[in-house]
């Protein structure tokens, strides 16, 4: 197959580039990474007006070719044909925000000077109209010397026109592209951008701006902060409240599968493997898909509406007190979904010490993989009653666990900034985009991509570690006459017995020691590991087998142990993927090992203090 022509979408952040990318490529997207860097490569296939397919790549948003961060370097290197693992684009689609022409045209002029076949997508013209701005695309095209297409990505307007123009552009013989744009004075380019913008603006009437009105509340020092706290609270309540029905459904399916397998196969190794290892192990994790998707739904919404930057603004004052910038709030909030994208998102923080501190505390934000662990323990040990109308005790405990992680992170940041990452605090410079109602399809697409990633993990890492654990738990078999249980006699049981010497003082039992080892592969494996342990422990006891994991935990664990287990997971050393991404982002083993060490100490102390306090309180 011949290589498809490559078209790159490029533009300022907040120009609506990703929405345009989604609208053009639909769900047929391929996510990958540029070699050597952790910058995500997003590509998709687009059919031109004449039916020819081209590959469309969405480059990270940047303000100029003068790159400041690793993301921006990728954009610069791709358009200049210097990025490893990427061919030089055959054409550029420059996305500019119609209501911010002065600024966006300056970067557009820089890009046009590269000499590649280029189209300008004058995006979000509807919002510009809302702001009382009327533009003439023809004037703009004449002044810039390239085709200009007015688009509204979120309403799919102008897309056919864009495909037509692109077909025309790729049909003609490409002019010689320059590796470097001619050196031009920054102020001169800006002056020209302003002149062109003035020429293209037909009418400019001041109008009531929605964004300004909302910001009066959203950025208010008191109400804004209350709104933010309220939003976060609703988010964590929803994780429980909305997920009940779908979880019950998945549980029903897993149980039906287990029963069917049990009935279909004779008792033996294969049946035990399928039921105890595969169905119970993997099933106990897949059950949390609804909760993870609800969490991601909120985070995607906050990002897409433009609220996330407001949250960063509100938090900057507090973050500055612990030596961080408000900008760190965004990667940290993403870390609630998963520390890996969170740590990758720190790339937008320019100051290296700010960035390192943010990376080191990102694992303290409760990632969604810990949610299964919390959910199963809370479900088993915390009574499901309301402490106030509409506020469940279980949701409240979950909220407290998240808050404990945040407070822990702030304290750690403070200490780190006074010791290992000592130095002057970096700044806080951010663009605040206009509020926008996201296209439901974009949110759904984001959720779909997360669900696929989660299920892939369940199918690979979680499946593999569950199977390995099952083998280690099932062999060797104790002699018939032995009074020692299968689990205690097995290889895993013996390893856990050794580990238990360290973990017993903080109230952990053998089963927890067993679950913590595979939990390093992925946090949620702790749950599937416990499920596998109890499944094997139960042997052929039908009555025991039919009880849920939560019920069995309730029977076997004292309350202080359960609470200590929760406390452990607030700080628990991160999964292998997080350590790997930290190594990549910090270029060495020093910081990931440091992170691992300090988290282990914190987790041990937190679990110990919880256990001793709870025991002393007679719980």
């Amino acid at each position: 197959m011949s290589v498809l022509p490559l078209v790159a979408l490029v533009g300022n952040p907040n120009a609506g580039k990703s929405a345009l990318f989604n609208a053009l490529t639909g769900a047929r997207q391929k996510l990958g990474n540029y070699p050597g860097v952790t910058v995500e490569r997003k590509a998709g296939r687009l059919a031109l007006a004449d039916g020819r397919p081209v590959e469309l790549v969405d480059l990270p948003g940047t303000y100029s070719l003068n790159a400041a961060s690793p993301d921006e370097q990728v954009t610069r290197d791709v358009v200049m044909g210097r990025q490893a693992g990427e061919r030089r684009p055959d054409a550029l689609v420059i996305v500019v925000d119609a209501s911010n022409l002065d600024n966006h045209l300056r970067f557009a002029l820089e890009l046009i000077a590269l000499g590649l076949p280029t189209i300008v997508a004058l995006n979000m013209v509807d919002l510009a109209t809302r702001d009382g701005l009327e533009l003439d695309a023809a004037v703009l095209a004449r002044e810039l010397g390239v085709p200009v297409v007015a688009t509204v990505a979120v309403r799919k307007r102008g897309l056919d026109h864009l495909r037509e123009e692109l077909a025309g552009l790729l049909g003609s013989i490409a002019p010689e592209a320059k590796a470097l744009p001619p050196e031009r004075d920054f102020d001169a380019v800006r002056g020209e951008a302003r002149r062109i913008a003035r020429a293209a603006i037909v009418r400019e009437t001041p109008s009531r701006r929605l964004t300004a009105a909302v910001d009066r509340v959203a950025l208010h020092p008191v109400f804004g902060l209350l709104l933010l706290l309220g939003l976060l609270f609703v988010m964590f309540q929803a994780v429980y409240a909305w997920s009940e029905a779908p979880i019950a459904m998945i549980e029903g399916l897993a149980e039906a599968a287990a029963t069917a397998t049990r009935n279909a196969l004779p008792d033996g190794m294969l049946r035990s493997f399928l039921v105890d290892g595969v169905i119970n192990g993997v099933g106990s994790v897949v059950v949390f898909l609804p909760q993870i998707l609800i969490l991601f739904f909120f985070i995607l919404m906050l990002e897409a509406t433009g609220y996330m930057v407001r949250a960063a603004f509100l938090m900057d004052g507090i973050m500055a007190k612990v030596g961080l910038s408000g900008r760190a709030f965004i990667p940290l909030l993403s870390s609630f979904a998963c520390a890996i994208p969170g740590i990758m998102a720190t790339r937008t923080i320019a100051d290296p010490k700010d960035r390192l501190t943010t990376i080191l505390i990102a694992p303290l934000m409760t990632c969604s993989a810990r949610l299964p662990v919390y959910a199963v323990i809370i479900g088993a040990f915390i009574p499901a009653r309301d402490i106030a109308p509409g506020v469940g005790l279980q949701g409240f405990v979950l909220f407290c666990l998240y808050v404990a992680g945040i407070i822990g992170a702030m304290l750690v940041a403070l200490i780190l900034r006074m010791t290992v990452t000592k130095g002057a605090s970096g700044g806080f410079l951010m663009e605040m985009p206009k509020y926008q109602w996201p296209r439901p399809q974009d949110i759904l697409l984001g959720l779909w991509q997360r669900a696929v990633i989660f299920l892939k993990r369940a199918g690979t890492i979680i499946f593999t570690s569950t199977v390995i654990l099952w083998v280690l738990l099932s062999y060797p078999k104790p002699p018939e006459s032995s009074a020692v249980s299968q689990v205690d006699y097995s290889i895993a049981g013996r390893i856990a017995g050794g580990l238990n010497v360290i973990l017993e003082p903080i109230g952990f039992n053998r089963d927890i020691s067993l679950a913590l080892i595979p939990a390093m592969a992925a946090r949620e494996v702790a749950v599937s590991a416990l499920a596998t342990v109890y499944s094997i422990d139960a042997g052929d006891d039908e009555a025991l087998l039919e009880r849920s994991l939560g019920d069995r935990l309730k029977d076997q664990w004292p309350l202080p142990t359960a609470l200590a287990f929760l406390a452990w997971f607030i700080f628990a050393p991160q999964c292998i993927s997080t350590i790997a991404v930290t190594r990549r982002e910090t270029n060495g083993w020093k910081w990931p090992l440091f992170m691992l060490g300090y988290l282990f100490v914190l987790a041990y102390v937190a679990a110990g203090v919880t256990y001793w306090t709870a025991t002393a309180a007679g719980l």
Binding site: Y63, N100, N103, G317, G326, A350, F428, M430
Partner: protein, 84 residues
């Protein structure tokens, strides 16, 4: 007056920027945001409970947020003859 002292929602123009207060990359970013001598500027919000948080201001058609120490490096002028 300094941008930090500019009353909220009062249109003004940038008179002078003390680039020495900013690191080269911060200066570059501010210029990319369109903040330069002669740009129109309007303070919109002061963040933080004790007025110590960042400042959100409109520069041209864009809203940006910056810390007070950076905003203090920007001198602005107001009034009818401020228009460059």
């Amino acid at each position: 007056m300094r941008l930090t002292e500019l009353p909220l929602r009062q249109p003004a123009f940038v008179d002078l920027i003390d680039w020495s207060v900013l690191s080269p990359s911060e200066g570059q970013r501010l210029r990319e945001f369109g903040l330069c001598e002669g740009a129109s500027v309007e303070a919109l919000h002061h963040g933080g409970l004790w007025g110590k948080g960042p400042i959100a201001c409109k520069v041209g058609r864009m809203t940006i947020a910056m810390r007070r120490n950076h905003a203090a490096a920007v001198t602005v002028r107001t009034g009818p003859d401020a228009v460059p």
